[in-house]
């Protein structure tokens, strides 16, 4: 399957990665090569096969629905590029 430039642009947008227009043709052709490789999967008969959800057949553990952690605001904010007054600061979201 061949990926066109518009699809490459759309995927970059969905992935929230800025790709300049002049880089899109190369990106599209890389995607096409990788998807071409992946298309081999179409040769496999998967009728009646359930998609794998867990590679080990054990049930996930459950725990009581209680608070186990918290009150660590300074530690949580320690690595933030921009933290103000106890919050993460970001560019204006609502006009």
């Amino acid at each position: 399957m061949s990926i066109d430039i518009d699809t490459a642009r759309r995927v970059a947008k969905l992935a929230r990665i800025k790709v300049e227009d002049d880089a899109l043709p190369a990106l599209a052709s890389e995607f096409s090569a990788i998807l071409g490789f992946i298309e081999q999967l179409n040769e496999v008969d998967v009728d009646g096969i359930e998609p794998m959800t867990s590679v080990t057949p054990q049930r996930l553990k459950r725990r009581t629905d209680v608070v186990t952690d918290g009150s660590q605001q300074p530690a949580v904010l320690k690595n933030a590029p921009d933290a103000r007054e106890g919050f993460f600061a970001v560019p204006k979201v609502v006009e």
């Binding site: 990665i17 992946i38 998967v46 690595n79 970001v90």
Partner: protein
């Protein structure tokens, strides 16, 4: 002073317990070796102060007679593990300056056992790569050298380079598609990826959560057994961590494999396989047979589809896991222009912070999960994954204990030689990736040299949770192969 290039975890443990050497002395010697190893670019963050303090504490424990096996053992830690207060960047520019406020479960367990951290090790960015060439720190270099600089493999390239060059006694690695076993094979060391769920993933920067497992990279099988045991165990903080008792793996090393059934899968005999690899595999088979194992030809019919399935599932999970790098909570944030809003912040931050291969995989993952393609790619790949696991289940149910294959299709290649062709690079993992998809334990053991004098590894694949049996088979193979070659020091 002890000869560092002959020392192992086991012999260092015994020497420290006898009082022949202290952890402080060993640690100082390794720190000095690391200082002189800049050309290998294996250690990317140095933690000499931590190491010195840990060594001192370890010596006190050893003197008091309260010393677990790993006590006082100097290790390198892959940059993918979060280490409290120490840069943990996953070799990515997007985590520049990130110093975790917490310690991963694996490093917590190792440090509780008294192990010493010499520093953080180079790797491919977010563990995506097979040559350590996607790192923000630059390439790690293989201590084995012919006429040019070679890759140590990836993604745990710094770990492999450091252990092979005697810069530490062992290193942590992680393996999503072969990232412990391929670099181990390229550098003449031992590396084991345990059963999925054996080692906690908590505090390990996530790449593909259903495939990632951490494991040790060491100089021999005994050391792998000792270090693996210290890394294993149930962890409530990782919901996929198995609540199973951890056996004494070192005690499993009897060297007796009489009556064990070793499978030789015909699908791993690839067209155009090099004569070196072909011979290595045949020799390894003969060694196990001589040791009393029954050799059986087996078939794993879906092997061919493992790599394409992996290159749907791993990027899909990565695109989800790496969504957290948004310039808000940690790491890099792009400088914004006037008028830029939050979307521009995300897009510029991620374009600047992620390298080319990571961007490629995040976008492929985004595509295969997007509306209209989810069934055709992602669900189909998960069905194929179920078939790949069934192949192994059948073989094990028929009585096979372990499976012997080559670890890699070639010996280490030159830096830059495969970098421009992603699919060629992906083929490095052709023998290892099936093991991750099926959640099985796999170990790479150095077993010979190729015509150029470079190390080659054999892979043994075990039954789920049977790491002890797998390590014992690897130990038997190691003793028969008698691999003792070391790289000439040039760095």
């Amino acid at each position: 002073m002890t000869d560092l290039n002959k020392l192992t975890i086991a012999s260092a443990r015994d020497a420290m317990r006898k009082g022949d050497v202290s952890s402080a002395e060993l640690t100082a010697a390794y720190l000095k070796e690391i200082e002189g190893s800049a050309a290998l670019n294996a250690f990317v963050h140095h933690t000499a102060d931590i190491a010195t303090a840990q060594a001192k504490a370890a010596d006190t424990r050893i003197k008091a007679g309260d010393a677990p096996d790993m006590c006082g053992i100097p290790l390198g830690i892959k940059d993918l593990f979060c280490t409290k207060g120490v840069p943990s960047q996953a070799a990515s520019a997007i985590l520049e300056g990130f110093k975790p406020e917490y310690e991963s479960t694996v490093t917590t367990q190792l440090f509780d056992a008294g192990a010493v951290m010499l520093g953080k090790l180079n790797m491919d960015e977010f563990a995506m790569g097979s040559s350590n060439e996607t790192s923000t720190y630059g390439n790690a270099v293989n201590p084995w050298k012919v006429d040019r600089e070679l890759t140590p493999g990836g993604s745990s390239g710094g770990s492999a380079s450091a252990v092979a060059a005697d810069l530490c006694l062992g290193a942590t690695g992680t393996d999503t598609g072969g990232s412990i076993r391929q670099p181990a094979a390229f550098t003449g060391i031992t590396g084991i990826k345990p059963t999925y769920g054996r080692v906690s993933r908590w505090g390990v920067v996530a790449f593909a959560s259903s495939l990632d497992q951490a494991g040790p990279m060491t100089k021999d099988v005994r050391d792998a057994a000792i270090m693996l045991e210290a890394m294993c165990g149930h962890d409530a903080k990782d919901s996929t961590s198995a609540d199973l008792a951890v056996p004494n793996f070192e005690a499993a090393l009897t060297g007796d494999i009489k009556g064990k059934v070793i499978g030789i899968p015909k699908e791993y005999r690839m067209d155009g396989m090099s004569a070196d690899i072909e011979k290595l595999w045949a020799d390894g088979t003969a060694m196990l047979k001589d040791a009393g194992a029954e050799i059986r030809d087996i078939t794993l019919p879906h092997t061919k589809y493992a790599l394409p399935a992996y290159y749907v599932i791993a990027p899909a999970e990565a695109s989800s896991n790496l969504a957290r790098y948004d310039g808000v909570r940690f790491g890099h944030r792009a400088k914004l222009d006037a008028g830029d809003g939050i979307t521009e912040m995300y897009e510029k931050t991620r374009a600047e912070g992620f390298g080319a291969e990571v961007q490629r995989r995040v976008m492929v993952g985004t595509y295969v999960l997007s509306a209209g393609f989810y069934d055709a790619y992602y669900n189909r790949a998960r069905k194929v994954r179920a078939l790949i696991k069934q192949d192994f289940d059948k073989v094990f149910a028929d009585g096979v204990h372990s499976i012997l294959t080559p670890a890699t299709p070639t010996a280490a290649f030159g830096l830059g030689e495969e970098f421009d062709d992603p699919i060629q690079m992906y083929l490095n993992d052709v023998f290892t990736v099936t093991v991750n998809l099926a959640g099985l334990p796999g170990i790479s053991v150095p077993a010979g040299l190729n015509a150029d004098g470079l190390p080659l590894g054999l892979q043994l694949i075990g039954r789920p949770w049977e790491e002890g049996d797998l390590l014992n088979t690897a130990y038997t193979l190691e003793r028969a192969a008698g691999f003792v070659a070391k790289p000439q020091k040039w760095w």
